[in-house]
Symmetry: C2
Subunit: 349 residues, 2 copies
């Protein structure tokens, strides 16, 4: 039986009147210090802090080292379809505010073996993204990377990390979450189900959601698939073309990338995105060009890939506000930031 | 007897040939993935991670909640003399990348009582700052704020926090630090000495360092004073005019601010900067004007100050890279960042 969390349904109702929703969101953003003092949101921010603590505890116990991520740089992850990067003038050069520090993670994985960032990201999303409930212009992700690891290792770790964190939050805040937010956190069954991208397309097609076979899952199809699960699940092996140049193409299966997403159950959608990284310098250049980008912009990265060859790593990123939304059963990610910034709305703190 | 750490002396020798130093720094920044893999720097980054863990453990045990800080905003701390702010185009409005999130800390202290950020900061420092050894364009600070607290409470907490962290690092990494970096961490005597700004000026004058009486301590005078101490120490009660508009003027002693710095011993200089915050809306407007700034730019902040009156808080920020420099006995802060960004040097990762 499909099940969609009431908060997700409530959000859908909110956005059905676009004008009213936008006015409400403008107020929300402009006077955020008001609602940030409500008991409900005090709990949300304490749960967010606990989730960060749980993830750090878990990763530290596995030998990971926390690294302070870059904030700006000459390049940032270009694989953010639809969103623009924020640029600054850095002593006469155009630098970007990180939209995702993937290329920089690999660098430190080569030094320390297993690392993570809690990294600040800015993505200037298109104006319509305010109606999705899952896009913020400003957000944090816990971003990790492992040297000499495969995407299967990364999936195994992601599963353990999410199960540990949800259990931790249930133990520490479960009673309060039920009383104040009506949120009953589930007990997860492990292992989480794993669908290849092809299997996922078949799955949603059977449920009546038509998804182009060589593209990422559409949000609508994701939500339907998510509502048929009571634990998170994986979709892996995306077709080349659907993802960033740094997701490694399988040498045995051309056209298929060694990457994955993890989705939350109950209609909450994407939790995690991860991959093994492409490390063949010539392939990197070709795939950067394929995206319509200039390899010169990535010169430090390409030189590093040559010098540290084979710079073989795998990792993933988990959005902290989306995790908080899931844990607290919130309507939208803008309820999980004390200073929410959403597309096209200016004038808040 | 004065004592300056050998790494500080080594740095002074390095910068005595400005041309050669600049060339060396350009190489350092451009190929940072090379030295980041040396055993020495692997240890530095592990110590940095441990210092963050120690500070979080300490603060969590005192009831503080970690909050994810803003990354950009309509305003950021304007009290960064000499440095420029990095600006982005945020849907047609000019937003700044945080150079310090002080105003935003107060907001969450009003919600949760005691909070901290590990906050990303960008300050476009003047080109000459590469010769100080203590300025990065991109850095992180642990930034905390307490509701209904005084600057004496903040000094007491700062003292405990630093003593705890240094002890923790000595316990966990002491042997390695001695073997690999020749760094012998001291045992601190508490309480740390506290000098009013006036006493500090007298102190350095006696040592032959002439400091204008109503200005902040000059770096040279700080270093001399620091070399006469074997534990960190405080300088408090700065004269109005020397600091940001948000440092509270003492109502009983006009012209004197209820604020402080903590300095490291051994010539390492500033560790912490903190204050009680001004909360009288009229005073805030007057002091923003005094700085030559337009109060309109701070409208959300001024409105919040009125609505939450009296928004009485105190707190401080501790630079993570400067702390790492001190803990590891490094020559300069650019040894404490895996992707160092310094003034005027473009082209690294």
């Amino acid at each position: 039986m499909p099940y969609v969390h009431p908060a997700v349904l409530e959000f859908e109702k909110m956005v059905s009147d676009k004008e009213a929703y936008r006015r409400q969101l403008e107020e929300w953003v402009k006077y955020s210090w008001r609602w940030a003092r409500n008991d409900k949101y005090k709990l949300v921010f304490r749960v967010q802090a606990s989730a960060l603590r749980a993830m750090r505890e878990f990763l530290d116990s596995k030998g990971f080292v926390e690294v302070l991520s870059p904030i700006v740089g000459p390049v940032t992850d270009p694989g953010i379809r639809g969103a623009k990067q924020a640029t600054i003038d850095f002593y006469g050069a155009e630098y970007k505010v990180m939209s995702s520090a993937i290329l920089y993670k690999q660098y430190m994985a080569a030094s320390l073996g297993k690392i993570y960032f809690v990294s600040p990201n800015i993505r200037l999303e298109p104006n319509d993204s305010i109606y999705t409930g899952r896009h913020l212009v400003e957000f944090y992700q816990l971003d990790l990377e492992m040297y000499k690891a495969s995407y299967v290792d990364a999936m195994d770790l992601a599963e353990e990390l999410v199960a540990y964190t949800v259990k931790y939050i249930k133990d520490v805040h479960g009673k309060e979450l039920e009383e104040k937010l009506g949120r009953q956190l589930p007990e997860f069954k492990r292992p989480f189900k794993r669908y290849s991208h092809r299997e996922a397309i078949e799955y949603v097609n059977k449920l009546g959601c038509k998804n182009p076979p060589r593209e990422e899952l559409m949000w609508e199809c994701e939500k339907i698939m998510s509502s048929y699960h009571d634990s998170p699940f994986f979709v892996y092996d995306y077709p080349r073309g659907a993802r960033g140049f740094y997701d490694r193409e399988d040498p045995e299966r051309p056209g298929i990338l060694r990457d994955f997403d993890m989705l939350y159950p109950e209609g909450f959608g994407e939790a995690i995105s991860g991959a093994e990284r492409e490390f063949e310098p010539a392939k990197l250049v070709a795939r950067i060009r394929e995206m319509g980008e200039d390899p010169m912009k990535y010169s430090w990265f390409l030189q590093m890939a040559k010098e540290l060859y084979p710079l073989q790593t795998a990792g993933f990123g988990i959005g902290v506000e989306r995790l908080t939304r899931y844990l607290c059963g919130l309507r939208a990610v803008w309820e999980a930031r004390p200073y929410p910034k959403v597309a096209g709305i200016v004038g808040g703190p």
